[in-house]
């Protein structure tokens, strides 16, 4: 996983609430055995007409947002299925930050494990950033300092310290877990003894 520190980008606004993982990546694209190639199907059914052509009005298809790496979404982003394919599709498309007032639990965990910063906003900060997104302004997100800065404002966010550190350092969490081998062995031995008694 790449380490994450600071990025600057325009904001792609996708402001509906409860955007579920079926909208992020429809189930018919889950028949893959790798993580690659999902970016091109991100928000597939919102991005394309039934005949496969792009819907020019959909935000991801608008030229001014090409190459943007920050998504601004409504409440409860990523609800529904546990498919990590949603995170793979976002990162595959180039998104590194998703900002919302709230995230669904499983999506939140999946995003972090793929180097995506799920950034929780206050309602007020959301409103500011919605305005910035409409005017095409660029913002910068600074993870070490926990700040989002735009032309005429800043917002200080919080993130669980462990998650923040893992993102900053590009930490492989499995490597970290395997460092607890002794404790895992001891736990298993203790459990075996209790369940026999």
């Amino acid at each position: 996983m790449k380490s994450f520190n600071r990025i600057s980008s325009r904001i792609v606004p996708l402001l509906e609430r409860d955007i579920d993982t079926d909208q992020i990546i429809p189930a018919r694209f889950l028949k893959v055995t790798t993580r690659v190639g999902l970016g091109e199907h991100l928000f597939e059914d919102l991005r394309r007409n039934p005949d496969g052509s792009f819907r020019p009005e959909f935000v991801l298809n608008r030229p001014e947002f090409r190459g943007a790496t920050i998504l601004l979404a409504g409440d409860n982003f990523g609800c529904g299925s546990s498919r990590e394919h949603a995170a793979w599709a976002l990162i595959g498309h180039g998104f590194q930050v998703v900002m919302s007032t709230s995230f669904a639990d499983i999506f939140y965990a999946n995003a972090l494990k793929n180097g995506i910063l799920p950034l929780v906003l206050s309602t007020r900060a959301f409103e500011h950033l919605e305005r910035v997104s409409r005017t095409g302004g660029e913002i910068s997100v600074d993870l070490p300092h926990r700040t989002v800065a735009w032309a005429d404002g800043t917002y200080t966010f919080t993130i669980d310290p462990f998650a923040g550190l893992c993102l900053q350092q590009g930490t492989d969490q499995l490597g970290y877990i395997l460092g607890f081998e002794e404790q895992i062995v001891a736990y298993e031995a203790g459990r075996a003894a209790r369940e026999v008694s």
């Binding site: 018919r28 055995t33 790798t34 409440d75 609800c79 550190l165 877990i177 369940e195």
Partner: protein
């Protein structure tokens, strides 16, 4: 001693370590694996040269992308995914219920059926409906593929401790009103995100009176309320269900004694509590594009203009546009194209028996495509032994092999664009049952009533 909830007792018993500055390391007792969310995890193990730490705690099945017509070849991508699971299970020494194995079925149906799911366990699977297993008084939740890899390699997960949320059901359900209706009513009340960061514990006299299969339906949809897990304290109903199943511990009586210590202590405190009185509840049906958008069967489609906040207004307007519905119109009497009776929510034998009672002596309405898909091959055999398959087939419904089928529409079973389906599954998201599909979530009784009348119908008029 501190009074603890069911959740807290299970959590405390599974903490392996509490590293400073990091979430707790939680031990996982049972890991269920399916073809869709696991291939990348096994590849990760191979890349790192790791083995599966506890293959005896890991079980795999094929359910999401498998065709439900016997002998039909899966599409090449689905076939490759299924083949990958077969290879991975062989290479890493995991038991797999695939192909003609009589134990194959939807992962959340076979876990309980085989007695793998037990009270007090921590259970995970790369599937959000893992919450189903909480019906046994287990802490069970869905995880992503990275976490699947973590559990395969270490049998552990790094987890922040969620908060507790008691959902208490009071009153008594009327005839024709089922656990599914009660679940949809709860979601209509609390919405789809209130449970985030929490574990539901369902309690109260209604929950105590539910069978294990009904408790599974209730816990199954916890994730639809935003809670990763939902649970019911184990009791004699639980122990009687489990007795004699293939994978239950021996001696069973000793296990029951341990399990009896699990229910929340009297006076234990939850972070939140909500109470719902089910008295007078009518069958429920959803009208929108998330499971919280539900109304009483005789209700009318709500009007976005009456929403207090702008967010709800636009969400509702968008949902109604997708669904092709007008504010204020009744759903009762609306014609439907497809009826799907299946999924990890409602494809157990009791669900099929309920549906069969409606189909018995009736015919599927002209032009309605009706699929009945058992949750497992064991459910299929049981239904056939009881003659339910003949009732479905004589009525004109299609009787299929076990699988997730039209709930997730990955296997070729799908609702066509613009069609309306009444479905016993768990999600009515845009495109969930196929691109452009429009879903009305309902109970097996209500789905069967729609099949035989061709319209959204109050099943109580057919009882």
């Amino acid at each position: 001693m501190r009074l603890r909830t069911l959740f807290e007792k299970i959590w405390d018993a599974h903490v392996v370590a509490v590293p400073s500055g990091a979430p707790a390391l939680l031990y996982i007792d049972l890991h269920l694996v399916h073809e869709v969310t696991s291939p990348q995890a096994f590849d990760g193990l191979r890349r790192r040269g790791l083995r599966v730490r506890r293959p005896e705690r890991t079980f795999a099945t094929v359910d999401h992308s498998i065709p439900t017509v016997a002998g039909e070849l899966a599409d090449p991508m689905a076939a490759a995914q299924i083949a990958a699971l077969e290879t991975n299970a062989g290479e890493f020494g995991i038991r797999l219920f695939s192909g003609d194995d009589p134990r194959r079925g939807i992962v959340h149906v076979i876990g309980p059926e085989l007695g793998l799911t037990q009270p007090g366990m921590t259970i995970v699977c790369g599937d959000s409906h893992t919450s189903t297993h909480g019906a046994f008084g287990a802490l069970a939740f869905g995880i992503g593929t990275s976490e699947v890899e973590h559990v395969l390699a270490s049998q552990c997960l790094l987890q922040h401790r969620p908060k507790t949320f008691e959902v208490r059901f009071e009153g008594k359900l009327d005839a024709g009103v089922t656990t599914k209706d009660m679940t949809l009513a709860l979601l209509a009340k609390i919405g789809v995100s209130e449970g985030a960061g929490h574990v539901f514990e369902y309690s109260g006299p209604v929950v105590r009176s539910l069978s294990m299969e009904q408790r599974m339906t209730l816990c199954n949809m916890s994730i639809e309320g935003g809670a990763r897990a939902g649970m019911v304290a184990p009791d004699d109903v639980t122990f009687e269900y489990l007795a004699g199943r293939p994978f239950v511990p021996e001696p069973f009586d000793a296990a029951v004694l341990r399990w009896k210590t699990l229910p929340s202590d009297a006076g234990a405190v939850y972070d939140r509590t909500v109470t719902y009185d089910v008295s007078g509840l009518a069958p429920m049906v959803t009208f929108g594009t998330n499971p919280g958008m539900g109304i009483s069967i005789a209700g009318r489609v709500p009007d976005p203009d009456r929403c207090v906040d702008a967010g709800s207004r636009s969400a509702l307007a968008k949902a109604l546009q997708y669904m092709g519905l007008t504010p204020g119109e009744p759903l009762l009497g609306r014609a439907v194209d497809v009826v799907f009776i299946g999924s990890c929510t409602n494809a157990r034998i009791s669900d099929l028996r309920e549906a069969a009672d409606i189909f018995r002596g009736r015919r599927v309405a002209e032009g309605v495509r009706t699929l009945v898909v058992p949750g497992s091959q064991a459910v299929k055999r049981q239904a056939e032994a009881e003659g339910l398959d003949r009732i479905f087939k004589n009525a004109g419904a299609e009787w299929r092999e076990a699988g997730c089928s039209m709930c997730i529409a990955m296997n070729g079973d799908e609702v066509r664009p613009g069609e309306y389906a009444v479905s016993t599954s768990n999600r009515n998201f845009e495109g969930r049952q196929g691109k452009g599909s429009r879903t009305f979530l309902a109970s097996p009784l209500t789905a069967a009533a729609a099949a035989v009348t061709g319209r959204i119908t109050d099943v109580r008029t057919l009882l």
